[in-house]
């Protein structure tokens, strides 16, 4: 037994040393505990080069896409893109609340039974784009203070970011009025609730961003196949024009509109070509689409039984989403060439469909009439801003200031292209109504009808005429109730809505 004890003392020492050899390193390796990520970049290694600036600005473009959408990293909620053709988007809500199209998938929208809680999370696709305003503020600040690239390069990206910020602010303004955007980079991570900006502050900010950006931007990218899709001087001026029209600053609208008319853009001779020829000279901005980021509008419009209409054929149907009411279709003259992009009769997989079919909700506002394949997505750019709108806006701005005399020339540029008779011999009021209809015929399906009806004070009355129980305050959409709750009384709801 002694032997055993003797043995164990040596063994004890050896074992303790071995244990210590294991334990001691375990107790002291702080490097192993470094907090590290492997799939994201951080402020330490980003905003260094032009390539960094480019991808940072690309992210500000991303909400404008025609593709379905993406999860916003700010709240982890998936939202549709602004120019996607789903019925929840900025584009389609601007259309479906008006007389130009019907859909039926969201009864609260089309019946005007919406309130602050109707759309939350994924269903409120527009309001939460406000986060991109803050992201633009971050990018503007970071690139302005960066040292990489040349000064010219930095200025160009800052200018693009400013246009995108102003444009986003306009979109929010269009739907909700002035909101509490974040413009000061120092407050980006603040938990402090800030109130909504006043109308004057808000519009002044958009104006400032756009006018500051213009000198540093390219004129236009039409014909530049590698840069098509970037915002340009033309886009900046167009957003200014939209803002001035929206706020009825007619003189400013006229002036900026005329500036655009002088830039070298030109009306496309054939109406249908505007929507099928990429980068044509009438386009001031179109959201670029490809197979990677397709445009789904055509698929949403075509009925599920659609096979053929004129030269348009498909082997499979579409999603039966949108129809133009016959009442709107009837606003077009019989020989109006713009009707060439509207399908008022088609061959279904079971027979012919036309106006005599009472169950048919109405013609198909297809707009994009040249495409290949059976979808669902198409590599066809979504037209957003184009010269015809500028002509019509200038005409409207002139009429509001001085009556129609000088305005005819502008509107008739647009009308004559489509082989319809010139406007003439109208009173100011007649011209006002006529230009509203003309905009409807020229710009249907491009997302401007809601703005136009509101500007003309006819948005609600038009809804009531369609049998909807619309309230006067519904010219603005409600601020989502979650934002009001978060706002602790500091963020005010739009007038009329009950929280």
């Amino acid at each position: 037994m002694k032997n055993i004890h003797h043995y164990s003392k040596r063994s004890l020492m050896r074992t303790l040393i071995a244990m210590a050899a294991i334990l001691v390193p375990l107790a002291s390796c702080d490097d192993a505990l470094e907090t590290k990520v492997y799939t994201q970049v951080s402020p330490e290694n980003f905003f260094k080069t032009e390539a960094d600036f480019n991808v940072a600005v690309v992210a500000l473009y991303s909400p404008f896409s025609t593709n379905w959408g993406m999860t916003d990293p700010g709240d982890g909620v998936w939202y549709n893109s602004l120019y996607n053709a789903d019925n929840k988007t900025y584009l389609m809500r601007s259309i479906l609340t008006t007389d130009e199209m019907v859909n039926g998938w969201d009864p609260n929208l089309e019946n005007f039974t919406f309130g602050p809680s109707t759309w939350s999370g994924s269903n409120e696709t527009v309001y939460y784009k406000i986060r991109y305003v803050a992201r633009a503020t971050d990018v503007i600040n970071k690139i302005s203070n960066a040292t990489g690239g040349t000064e010219e390069v930095r200025k160009k990206y800052v200018a693009e970011a400013k246009v995108l910020r102003a444009w986003l602010m306009y979109i929010l303004y269009d739907f909700f009025g002035p909101v509490n955007v974040k413009l000061d980079p120092a407050t980006l991570n603040d938990t402090q609730i800030t109130p909504r900006l006043s109308d004057a502050e808000y519009t002044a900010q958009m104006e400032k961003d756009l006018t500051e950006a213009i000198p540093d931007l390219e004129d236009m990218y039409n014909g530049n196949t590698s840069q098509w899709g970037r915002v340009s001087k033309g886009v900046a001026r167009m957003v200014l024009l939209k803002l001035y029209m929206h706020t009825k600053q007619w003189a400013k609208a006229e002036a900026i509109g005329k500036e655009i008319l002088e830039m070298g853009y030109a009306l496309e001779p054939n109406y249908a070509d505007i929507f099928t020829k990429r980068g044509n000279n009438e386009l001031i901005y179109a959201v670029p689409a490809s197979d990677a980021t397709p445009n789904y509008y055509i698929q949403e419009v075509l009925p599920s039984d659609f096979r053929q209409a004129g030269s348009i054929t498909r082997k499979v149907g579409g999603w039966s989403g949108y129809n133009m009411p016959w009442s709107f279709f009837d606003k077009f003259d019989a020989n109006d060439e713009r009707k060439s992009v509207i399908i008022d009769a088609y061959t279904a997989d079971w027979g012919e469909v036309d106006r005599t079919d009472t169950w048919w909700k109405g013609p198909l506002p297809l707009k994009y009439t040249s495409f290949n394949g059976d979808g669902p997505g198409y590599a066809i750019d979504a037209v957003v801003f184009r010269l015809a709108e500028v002509y019509l806006s200038v005409a409207e701005a002139i009429n509001e200031q001085r009556g129609p005399a000088e305005a005819y020339a502008y509107v008739n540029e647009v009308r004559s292209r489509s082989n319809v008779a010139d406007f003439e011999d109208m009173t100011q009021d007649e011209f006002r109504d006529a230009i509203l209809d003309e905009r409807g015929r020229e710009l249907f399906a491009e997302g401007v009808r809601r703005q136009d009806l509101i500007r003309h004070g006819k948005f609600i009355s038009s809804a009531k005429a369609r049998g909807k129980d619309a309230k006067d305050y519904q010219v603005l959409f409600p601020i989502p109730s979650a934002v009001i709750i978060e706002g602790k009384g500091i963020i005010e709801q739009n007038d009329g809505y009950t929280n």
């Binding site: 294991i22 970049v41 690309v58 406000i130 803050a134």
Partner: protein, 1026 residues
């Protein structure tokens, strides 16, 4: 040393051999019994026939033999110069004298001073279940399990004593054979759904890769005085899983084979073709009235608008018949085939347990089959007298198909197979005249049968290797090293054929994905056990290093000219613009820890335990280290003189404990400022991947700390004929891992932070009773009941609380407007709902101010159960054994998960979807007694800030009869004297026989939208022992 002993005994010249036979209480041979000559180390083990043979020195022939066997009372018999000593052993009904695994060692149940529940796997019916936690439902008080998915291998929500970290992780820490599983996740790659639409995939339970039959026992550490030794990972309790070991003695081989028939329980009651046409016409008519403002919805003159054209003519309805039963096309009777074989045996020096399990579940939902192979080797080898080497090795392979269930974030184009089966019109057949899959009225929905053509396979393999080394340094001091290597890797192969005509990807798509999840653990600790003064001192001191890495990559190819090659040659996918590549590596997840425990038991009466752990974690950038102490004490009152001889009270122990533990389970990225990619835009022809500010970091982020106080009483009456324990606890989470909401105008929505405090308070009672025990008939009952409430103590001051939420409300409270049925006529419109239409839900103006708004929001219920109960009964009569088990959740509310089907527009729209037969109850102008909301959109719902009301909120209390098992042990005499078979038992087991509840949705436990169908499983099986 072994040589020394041999030499020593070699000097003893005179030997004598004692033989004998050992039987159990029933007279059956008992193998594996330890036989020891008292006062020496001479011993042996009985063989399969219960026989033993032991050589002893002649000088000891008047000595004493000690017979011991786990679960039986040790017996001592004098040899009295005989050469044959037989004995019948009696079971030890003092079940409390068991050994409990407590983390870095075991303790006798008597010495435990914390709250620990133990479950012996042998008490659980193991057939037709893929994972151990499925079996634990209702088995241990305080362990709350809710099955998320009935899919084979599907996930569960597990929490111990309440989920009180609202935004952190609430699942307990699993420790398998002493190795903590740092990241108890699944390696299975998910599908990239950005083009696909629907989410394919399984909510996988990571424990499904471990064969439940290999498990010996599960010990659940519930209070912080016990869990503190696991420190920062133990806030939600610890589940210690111990697998079976070999025992010295002859090799025993056990086989269990079973066959299970699964049939779908009552499922969705959908409209047939005739009903579909009738209901479509009926509801579309009302939609027409509403859209045109015709009475009762408005005052339009019906003759001023076009007439209503029904979708279906009377003739079509008359000849429609039943049409296609789509659910039937995607569901079937399933089966499970299981074979489990294990070998166990060993010598003094080498002990081995090895097993193989085959589990093949042809599931009741097509495309969700689950096949598993697992193998295990548990080896223990003594190297000399002081060193013991061990290896626990398990390998598993799971091959499964991935039909998905559950809700989808998106529209009808994202419908999975079940959703499309519920939505597809019964009026169309499976194929059109060209042999293509048909479309339903909504062209975005994929044909349900087309889903069967989708190939979606996952193959997951997992290896858990855990070598251990134990060195006996002195008699009292031991050193242990435990290494854990846990590697999972998984491959996903997906092919969506062109033939499916998916609305988003009609040209076909394939995805390949690969994922891996590795956990590495190294721990070394010293244990010291010695009698010190009048008591026993037990010390543990150690350190550990832990690391977890998760990686994955995937690719997608689109546009296949043929379906022939499937995912095997994705290079042929022609549309490169739709190709997607992605990869991922998890943030650094490393932990370094030191821990200790001291336990002192004085006079076997007074026990005190201190535990503590210091953890450093890579999750937290600055404040990396935390220290978590615990203390507990127990008083074994029955050892006091005044109770020692009590015939009534056989056991009485009072315990009290206090401790703190941590919760670090939040993504490590949360601490850092990050710019993330994934914000694409097309410029020219380049699809740029934009990068944007995605996260605002918090450098000061640190642990959530849980403080728990626990008082418990263990008792046994009438020689433990009735025994049990009672616990009362309070658990408070401080510095909650939560998020400071940034206002919605910020780039980022939240910053991770330690804010607020929550608490759960509860009581638990466990009882085990032997109701009858008269030799041939034995009936035992186990009951456990627990209740807790979890509520807010301190809210995040930065998150604005809506006025209707109380400061200390329950965590899972549901808020919304109360309702009072529906408006049945224009005269029934309440004054505060002017403009509402008949068929609208009638909300209650709770505060009576004549307006419906946020002030009318009240707490409608709580989705957490108030009571959890489990009741098990085992009756054995001669060779029969009967086991039945109930569990239940009581007092919770849940939304009726059928309610989405009651939206009249679902079927009334022109793109009609099928729905439930209950839609006949929808109110319409012509069905004024309907009690479900009608077609008109409710102009008031937009003013309800919660978006929630109680029209479909129901009491969801339930009790489920989970299992009934009946077994019969064939008479041993059948096997004659050859004894090739030692024993054989046949059994039948029925699972999910009944659920008792008033809930009107699918199942009160599966309240998610579109749950995986529950099966009724009937198993026939056999146990053989060789």
């Amino acid at each position: 040393m072994a040589m020394l002993i041999t030499v020593c005994y070699g000097l003893q010249a005179q030997q004598k051999v004692i033989t004998g036979k050992i039987t159990d209480e029933n007279g059956s041979e008992l193998p594996g019994v330890n036989v020891l000559l008292k006062g020496t180390s001479l011993g042996t083990v009985s063989d399969q026939a219960g026989a033993y043979s032991l050589s002893i020195p002649e000088s000891q022939s008047s000595g004493t033999l000690v017979f011991s066997f786990i679960g039986y009372l040790s017996e001592e018999l004098a040899i009295n110069n005989q050469t044959s000593v037989n004995i019948q052993m009696m079971p030890d009904i003092q079940t409390l004298s068991e050994v409990v695994v407590v983390g870095y060692g075991t303790q006798r149940r008597e010495d435990i001073s914390g709250a620990v529940s133990s479950v012996k796997a042998s008490e659980l019916p193991q057939v037709a279940n893929t994972s151990i936690d499925n079996l634990l439902q209702g088995r241990a008080a305080g362990l709350n399990l809710t099955q998320r998915s009935a899919q084979p291998g599907g996930g569960l929500n597990v929490n111990i004593r309440g989920a009180i970290s609202p935004n952190g992780n609430n699942t307990p820490l699993y420790v398998i054979d002493g190795v903590p599983v740092l990241n108890n996740g699944s390696a299975e790659p998910s599908l990239n759904d950005s083009n696909l639409g629907y989410y394919g995939g399984v909510d996988r339970n990571p424990l499904s890769s471990i064969n439940p039959s290999d498990i010996e026992s599960i010990d659940i550490l519930k209070d912080a005085s016990a869990t503190a030794i696991y420190g920062s990972a133990a806030a939600n309790g610890v589940v210690l899983i111990t697998t079976k070991r070999g025992k010295a003695g002859a090799v025993t081989t056990e086989y269990r084979g079973s066959y299970t028939i699964q049939s779908p329980k009552d499922y969705y009651d959908l409209l047939d073709a005739t009903q579909f046409m009738q209901q479509q016409n009926r509801l579309a008519k009302d939609k027409y009235l509403y859209d045109n403002g015709i009475a009762p919805y408005g005052t339009t003159d019906p003759s001023s608008v076009g007439a209503f054209t029904p979708k279906f003519t009377d003739e079509q309805i008359r000849t429609a018949g039943a049409g296609t039963d789509w659910t039937d096309k995607v569901m079937r009777n399933g089966s499970i085939q299981e074979h489990n074989i294990s070998l166990s045996g060993g010598t003094d020096k080498t002990k081995l347990y090895t097993s193989f399990n085959y589990y093949n579940n042809k599931a009741i939902l097509e495309n969700s089959d689950f096949v598993r192979y697992t193998g295990r080797v548990n080896l223990e080898q003594k190297l000399g007298g002081r060193v013991k080497f061990g290896l626990n090795l398990t390998l598993s392979q799971i091959n499964n198909n991935n039909a998905s269930s559950g809700a989808n974030a998106g529209g009808v184009e994202k419908y999975n197979m079940l959703q499309s089966a519920y939505a597809f019109s019964p009026t169309v057949g499976v194929y059109d005249e060209d042999g293509n899959y048909t479309k339903t009225f909504d062209p975005l929905i994929t044909n349900p049968v087309a889903f069967l053509a989708i190939k979606d396979k996952t193959r997951t393999s997992r290896i858990i290797a855990s070598p251990t080394l134990e060195v006996k340094i002195t008699d009292a001091l031991k050193g242990n090293v435990v290494v854990g290597i846990d590697k999972q890797s998984s491959t996903r192969n997906f092919y969506l054929p062109r033939a499916v005509q998916n609305s988003q990807l009609p040209e076909g798509m394939a995805q390949l994905g690969q994922g891996s999840l590795d956990n590495y653990t190294t721990e070394a600790f010293l244990t010291y056990d010695k009698k010190v003064g009048p008591g026993n001192l037990s010390l543990v001191l150690g350190a550990g290093y832990y690391n977890s890495v998760q990686e994955s990559f995937s690719m997608q190819a689109v546009d296949f000219f043929t379906d022939a090659l499937q995912y095997n040659n994705i290079g042929i996918g022609a549309n490169k613009e739709k190709a997607i590549m992605s990869s991922y590596r998890s943030p650094n997840a490393t932990k370094i820890s030191q821990f200790f425990r001291a336990n002192y038991s004085l006079l076997d009466k007074y026990i005190v335990t201190f535990t503590g752990r210091r953890d450093g974690s890579s999750t937290f950038p600055e404040d990396k280290y935390g220290f978590f102490p615990g203390i507990s004490a127990a008083w074994r009152i029955n050892q006091e003189d005044f109770l020692k001889n009590s015939t009534l009270i056989s056991d009485l122990k009072l315990r009290a404990g206090y401790g703190t533990v941590g919760n670090d389970r939040i993504s490590p990225t949360n601490a850092l400022d990050l710019y993330e990619s994934g914000f694409y835009y097309l410029i020219g022809n380049t699809y740029y991947n934009g990068v944007t500010l995605a996260q605002v970091g918090n450098q000061n982020l640190t642990w959530e700390t849980d403080v728990m106080i626990n008082v418990g009483l263990d008792f046994g009456l009438w020689s433990d004929r009735l025994s049990g324990s009672f616990e009362i606890y309070q658990r408070t989470a401080k510095d909650l891992l939560d998020f400071n909401r940034l206002p919605s105008n910020n780039a980022d929505g939240q910053v991770a932070a330690n804010v607020g405090s929550t608490r759960s308070q509860g009581i638990e009672l466990s009882l085990t009773s032997t109701n009858v025990d008269n030799g041939s008939l034995r009936w035992t009952t186990t009951l456990n009941v627990s209740t807790f409430k979890a509520y807010w103590v301190e809210r995040n001051p930065q998150v604005a609380l809506p006025e209707y939420i109380g400061e200390n409300d329950p965590i899972n409270a549901v808020y919304g407007w109360r309702t009072d049925g529906i408006i049945t006529s224009t005269g029934d419109v309440p004054s505060y709902m002017a403009g509402a239409k008949p068929g609208n839900i009638k909300y209650i103006d709770s505060n009576g101010d004549g307006e419906l708004n946020s002030k009318d929001v009240v707490m409608l219920g709580n989705t957490s159960p108030k009571w959890n109960v489990g009741l098990g009964n085992t009756v054995t009569y001669k060779n029969f054994d009967l086991n039945f088990f109930f569990y239940g959740f009581l007092g919770q509310s849940a939304f009726n998960n059928y309610s989405g089907f009651y939206d009249p527009l679902r079927i009334a729209n022109t793109n009609s979807q099928n729905t439930l037969t209950d839609v006949s109850r929808i109110w319409t102008a012509e069905n004024s007694t309907g009690d479900l909301p009608g077609i008109a959109s409710n102009p008031y719902s937009g003013s309800n800030p919660t978006g929630t009301h109680d029209f479909y909120l129901e009491k969801a209390s339930f009790v489920r009869l989970k299992n009934i098992t009946l077994g019969y042990r064939l008479p041993d005499k059948l096997w004659g004297n050859r004894k090739f078979i030692q024993s054989a038992r046949v059994f039948v087991d029925v699972q999910n026989l009944a659920v008792f509840s008033n809930y009107n949705g699918y199942d009160p436990e599966f309240t998610e939208v579109n749950p995986y169908p529950q099966a009724l499983s009937t198993t026939f099986g056999v146990n053989l022992k060789f």
